[in-house]
């Protein structure tokens, strides 16, 4: 089975900070990591390769330093990778991102299965996986928590729902996005890390992918991020004087009046 795993390099959320003046993410000096949800995608791909054999390719779009993340992916046991990098890709929303990723998948000669994390921890849209499937005309199942059956022409997967899960058969080629329950990401391997030391990620730009500049990046996007900010605490405060019992009663009366809580008869 030929599997493409889509990865995104994101700022390490443990160390990310907002600039108090410009309200944008401070990226300088913040470590970049593989999007944590994409590690579950990687784990799903590695499990599948153990079960049915085949090849795993890692695909990412990002600045040149994202090559370092592909090297990390090789350390986890991925066979090869492709970095989509071009100044023209900058400022892409999910629509323009899927245009570039779809071209990247075609550049790699397609795949039996594409695996994505359910969402990225920086944008949190959960749109890129399904959008990529739409671009490629592939069937897709999002929020996969387990792969029950893996055959050459179909998968049987469990799709996580709010109130349980659904069992879905997905014809291949197809795309899945996975959730945490798929399995705890394994550590990198020594042989993988040794291979990673020598690995140079192939890079493709818009021209190599046959993409026009108005299809990708900011120009190819329907939306753009104008500002990122932390919402200020806007709550109002009121002190209720008096002994604790009376104040407590006053709080309950107020919550009932505002229909925040209902008192039983």
């Amino acid at each position: 089975m030929k599997i493409i795993v889509c990865l995104k390099q994101v700022p390490d959320t443990a160390s990310v900070k907002l600039d108090p003046v410009t309200h944008t993410l401070k990226r300088e000096g913040v470590a970049a990591v593989i999007n944590p949800f994409d590690l579950f995608a990687l784990e799903a791909a590695l499990q599948l390769r153990e079960r049915v054999g085949g090849q795993i390719l890692a695909l990412t779009m990002g600045p040149p330093q994202a090559a370092e993340m592909l090297r990390e992916a090789i350390g986890y046991g991925v066979d090869d990778g492709l970095l989509l990098s071009d100044r023209a890709f900058a400022g892409a929303d999910t629509w323009a991102t899927t245009a570039a990723l779809a071209a990247g998948v075609r550049h790699l000669g397609g795949a039996d299965l594409i695996v994505c994390g359910k969402q990225a921890v920086d944008g949190d849209t959960a749109q890129v996986g399904p959008g990529l499937a739409m671009r490629l005309g592939l069937p897709q199942v999002a929020f996969v928590k387990a792969i029950r059956e893996a055959a050459a022409d179909h998968l049987v997967v469990e799709r996580q729902m709010d109130d349980g899960y659904e069992v879905v058969s997905l014809p291949l080629p197809g795309l899945i996005t996975v959730v945490r329950e798929i399995g705890e990401p394994r550590p990198p391997s020594l042989k993988g890390k040794m291979r990673a030391k020598k690995f140079e990620a192939p890079v493709a730009g818009a021209a190599a992918l046959g993409l026009a500049e108005d299809q990708v990046g900011l120009r190819g996007s329907f939306t753009q991020v104008v500002e990122v900010f932390a919402p200020g605490a806007a709550g109002q405060r009121e002190m209720l004087p008096g002994p604790a019992e009376a104040a407590g009663r006053a709080v309950i009366d107020r919550l009932v009046a505002d229909k925040v809580i209902l008192l039983g008869s």
């Binding site: 394994r186 550590p187 990198p188 391997s189 020594l190 042989k191």
Partner: protein, 385 residues
């Protein structure tokens, strides 16, 4: 301290540290409490290729030496000696095959040990033969194309969890120490079974069990080296493995020092962090100095072993003796620095103290290590005259 490790050695250290932090630390207390074998962790170590660390490259391993093994074992031990014992015991079972196996034996067993598909174990100790290994009673007799083994082995690490056992048995009682031989026994061999699983003071995540051989029949080609080589196989194996026990000691002592120093910085008494009191600071200073001395000895001896030197028994015994005595002292003092907290199960240092004790006992008690060193000194100074 910078030990001028190579790029690959640093990679091994960082990977093992990552696994220890992310996978071992969160579960060590539960594994200890429930005396539960760390099956999931062994799978993670296998996926990380660590079971191939010292297996030669032509048999699917990474071809690392004693130092690489010590680096890996130290990092795992910093989090949990129960886990590192399980890991290291597989190499203890593999060394006889690496050192004395025929081409066929190596090709059959080493790749599945390297991949982590099978755990290995080493079986020498018996109820009446501990330090006096020459007193073993388990016998093997040749019958046609088979050996038939009778007897039992005691306190075997990975017993019941391993699938491949290197077993020492007597083939000719009349020859004394030259009458023992080494065999490979597989789980499932007729007449081979696992007896009592032990309940222990420390390293409770590791499995320790009795092995029973009742007319156990194995093909004759499972003999390692030649008949009569059993104790040579055992002693050469220990020469290679003992620095690894020293590395376990360095790891657990470092782990205890980490806990004690961090605690002493935040714990306030008399309105001051207790690390500012000389009585505590001097304890920590001694602990840190001794841990570093132990590490320097282990790494030096590991490099000496990897140089291909012939007479390694004395150095190897020293690399087990000194660090393990230090580990007992440092873990005990870590409990002292944490005081009442340290004595409680809520903090990891009481477990480290319980775990450290075995290091002075297994793979040759520290009294036996002193015997080895003493005998070597006697030989050396005898030659010098």
């Amino acid at each position: 301290m910078d030990y001028f490790l190579s790029e690959d050695q640093l990679m091994i250290r960082d990977l093992c540290r990552q696994i220890a932090e992310e996978r071992v630390k969160p579960v060590r207390a539960e594994l200890d409490e429930k005396e539960q074998f760390p099956r999931e962790l062994m799978k993670a170590l296998a996926q990380a290729d660590l079971f191939g660390l010292i297996i030669p490259e032509q048999y699917g391993g990474l071809g690392g030496g004693c130092l690489e093994n010590c680096i890996a074992v130290e990092e795992l031990s910093r989090a949990c000696v129960g886990v590192s014992t399980t890991f290291a015991a597989s190499f203890l079972g593999a060394y006889p095959i690496i050192l004395f196996g025929s081409e066929e034996q190596k090709a059959k067993y080493l790749p599945i040990i390297a991949s982590g598909e099978r755990l290995a174990a080493f079986a020498l100790t018996e109820s009446a033969a501990g330090s006096d290994a020459g007193a073993i009673q388990t016998q093997a007799r040749r019958e046609g194309d088979e050996y038939v083994i009778n007897g039992s082995k005691q306190w075997i690490t990975n017993g019941g969890e391993a699938r491949i056992y290197s077993v020492i048995a007597i083939t000719d009682r009349s020859k004394g120490a030259r009458g023992a031989s080494a065999f490979i026994v597989e789980e499932g061999d007729p007449g081979f079974s696992v007896g009592k699983k032990e309940i222990k003071l420390g390293i409770r995540a590791s499995a320790t069990a009795e092995l029973i051989f009742n007319e156990c029949r194995i093909p004759a080609d499972r003999l390692l080296a030649r008949e009569g080589m059993g104790f040579v196989v055992a002693m050469r194996t220990f020469d290679k493995s003992r620095p690894g026990v020293g590395a376990q000691a360095v790891g657990v002592a470092q782990g205890a020092l980490d806990e004690a120093a961090a605690f002493a910085r935040t714990r306030k008494q008399f309105d001051k962090p207790i690390i500012t009191f000389q009585a505590v600071a001097h304890m920590l200073a001694d602990m840190a100095t001794k841990v570093e001395a132990a590490r320097a000895l282990v790494y030096s001896v590991a490099r000496f072993v990897d140089s291909g030197a012939k007479d390694i028994s004395k150095a190897s015994a020293m690399a087990k003796l000194f660090p393990t005595d230090i580990a007992m002292e440092v873990t005990t003092n870590a409990v002292q620095v944490l005081g009442g907290h340290g004595y409680m199960r809520d903090y990891p240092v009481e477990k480290m103290m319980r775990d450290a004790k075995i290091l002075q006992i297994y793979e040759g008690t520290n009294q036996i290590q002193r015997n080895v060193i003493g005998q070597e000194l006697n030989k050396e100074y005898g030659r010098a005259k």
